[in-house]
Subunit: 324 residues, 2 copies
Amino acid sequence: MVIDSSVLKERALIKTIRRLAGSSPAGALMRGIGDDCAVLRIPRGSELLVTTDLCIENVHFRRAWHPASSVGHRCITRGLSDIAAMGGHPLACFLSLGLPESLPQSWVNGFLRGLLAQAGRFKIPLAGGDISSARQITADIIVTGQIPAGKAVLRSGARPGDRLYVTGLLGGSANTLKQLFAGKKIKPIRSNTHFYPTPRIATGAWLRERSLATAMIDLSDGLSVDLAHICEESRVTAIVEAKKIPVSRGADLELALHGGEDYELLFTASRRARVPARIAGITVAEIGEIRNRRDYSSAIQILGENGRVRPLPHRGWEHFARQF
Amino acid sequence: MVIDSSVLKERALIKTIRRLAGSSPAGALMRGIGDDCAVLRIPRGSELLVTTDLCIENVHFRRAWHPASSVGHRCITRGLSDIAAMGGHPLACFLSLGLPESLPQSWVNGFLRGLLAQAGRFKIPLAGGDISSARQITADIIVTGQIPAGKAVLRSGARPGDRLYVTGLLGGSANTLKQLFAGKKIKPIRSNTHFYPTPRIATGAWLRERSLATAMIDLSDGLSVDLAHICEESRVTAIVEAKKIPVSRGADLELALHGGEDYELLFTASRRARVPARIAGITVAEIGEIRNRRDYSSAIQILGENGRVRPLPHRGWEHFARQF
């Protein structure tokens, strides 16, 4: 049910993307944009990782807040961060793009530039995708990666007694978002991790290479929600210590516990493992412990700075629920 | 920027999908829904195929015309058909789904059932994906496949003198769509290829195994547009013979030449190749010839039933351009 005028616009846009992406196959990519499928070669002894992430206007970003290049950067970073959380290396990305007819070409170019610049930092090609008209800007990013066979760090490997660790600082992205919601003008500078987050590829791979992490996830939804995912898949519970949470400057404990999109890594390691305080240039903090599920009836607990233990609700972005 | 209520609905929907999809890893799939990435094992000596296709409400389907199960079926068939066009075998699929808040759960269930039933016919698991709220129903289907290394049938392999072939009958899907546009009620029965198309996986693989096809594409946009893709990538032109086009019952030459979504295969083969009249149960018709680009200034030609040669515009869905 493709329409002629759309087909022509589509073909022009595909040409633009192909030019920006660079069409020459390299590395794992045998055949990229321009055929029915992309063709990739997976190194012998490696398994393939695949992750898909939607970025939709007014759900994941706002045009009034996020410059196009930030939207592109954030979009691919979500996928790269999923690869990091398995301990893998990215191979290639794919982009399905739904665009309103009225969207200026300059926005699309800015978006692609932001996305491709971040892809370039991690040396992966844009290997294919699809285009359609849509009422909202809709980007689905697919990132593929590789990992030595049998070595992917799953969410399901946490065991009672394991220690819980987190990389970097938490709550920084949520703090910026909170200010945006409050109507503050925030300059979308490169050093602001809300606009330009960094996936922890090198840190994740370092942990996997040394078999240090028993379970791992990236912090996209927020510590409380993502820790609940590890606990659910591993059939365990956990306790975190409020005073050990590394809170980003300007943020507070609440934002650090429930704010999303920091794209740091949350992982568990045996209590006997020696986990360095810094891995691949990123600080690592021990923030709690995995417990047997029966110990605390299933709820994740938090040891407050007042010395009291209370359940940690896994609630994500409750603050903003009524504002969208 | 995920919202609490969405997170909760998302988690419930992911549970539903996981239940419907079946969570046990099997075959190539080492790890499916429930982790940061899916993990797949690609057989030694094989390359990976990846294709992504958007299906957006009121662009690719209408709720008033297409039952939910047909939308799911059509969605995954687009991806499977791309795998067929390389001569590959499907491995696993992924689904990114944007859903309006007001959409009934029964629609989502019908969509998933249609999609998963078709995935089941080709023995591939739904291995992962993403969910978000959206203003329009938006489905991005990613299908991965495998193919012996170096054996993918590309669009770029057609050579002057090669004969041009097409599988099955053309124009049937467009004929149904034309009637829908005209306000006719069409029962979405299983045998109607507009509602329930079949990807030509076995035929594509048969051609690839025997190295018979020099170039191949699936007919998603329509013969005139898709043949232009082969010509562009192969740097050749072509001539087709009107009287040899296999027109579907009820359709006409115009619909067969320019109508999309038949999901038949268009391929080229050496003039010395012996191409059977039926492959894997599907009829195959010789419909024309590949020519040197300089012969006819570049335009694809059609030899009409009146014996006159004229340029074949590659225009796709011109008829419907003003109707959406």
